[in-house]
């Protein structure tokens, strides 16, 4: 859902001389499916064991009862992520300047809250 919404602004992001990437703990074959399904023309990068997500401070482990709930919905993270860690990143969006300094951070512990992608272009114009 969020990646689809990002696809709508990817041209505007490029117009601003910027790039967009998504980073996910899931195996590349699942990212390939999502890229194809939504015709994404930005990369979905594989982050095995959430190594990069952890360097941004985003990784957490799902508690046991939540694992059971996810499993009951067919969301077996061990299968999707190719490990039995049951860890996920908080969904987050970082805008990084060409000087490597982070300019904007949008992270919320409630995964149903996401920043609107249209803000990105506005934020890029202020860098």
């Amino acid at each position: 859902m969020e990646l689809e919404a990002l696809q709508h602004v990817v041209d505007d992001i490029r117009q601003a001389q910027a790039n967009l990437v998504a980073v996910s703990p899931q195996l590349p074959k699942y990212s390939k499916q999502v890229v194809k399904k939504h015709n994404l023309d930005f990369p979905v990068l594989a982050d095995p064991n959430n190594r990069v997500a952890s360097s941004y401070g985003l990784t957490f482990s799902l508690p046991g009862d939540l694992r059971d709930v996810y499993s009951s919905f067919g969301i077996e993270l061990d299968r999707f992520n190719g490990n039995d860690l049951w860890q996920l990143p908080l969904p987050g969006r970082f805008i990084i300047g060409a000087d490597r300094v982070i300019k904007s951070v949008e992270v919320h512990p409630d995964y149903t809250r996401r920043p609107d992608p249209t803000q990105i272009v506005e934020l890029l114009s202020t860098i």
């Binding site: 001389q17 998504a22 980073v23 979905v44 709930v69 919905f73 999707f80 996920l88 490597r100």
Partner: protein, 82 residues
């Protein structure tokens, strides 16, 4: 409809259909996560962004340094296709 409105609609629909016990566990887990202190660990504006090189969905290496050489970079962390 903007992204958050769509997500809110999906959430309402999901919670109407899902077993109440599952919804309760999910709400509790979100509340626990929010109070766990994890938000204090998240990098902030003004911090230096850790660099990375990762494979894209086709197995090609993508490096943050190469992209930043072209301009700003938007990085979105995505949980998964499910």
């Amino acid at each position: 409809m903007n992204l958050q409105d769509t997500l809110d609609q999906m959430r309402t629909q999901f919670e109407a259909d899902a077993p109440p016990e599952a919804v309760k566990i999910m709400h509790q887990a979100t509340a626990d996560l929010a109070s766990s202190g994890i938000m204090d660990e998240v990098l902030k504006a003004g911090d230096t962004a850790p660099s990375f090189t990762l494979c894209d969905q086709n197995g090609n290496d993508v490096s943050s340094a190469a992209l930043l050489a072209q301009g700003p970079l938007v990085v979105t962390f995505y949980r998964g296709v499910w």
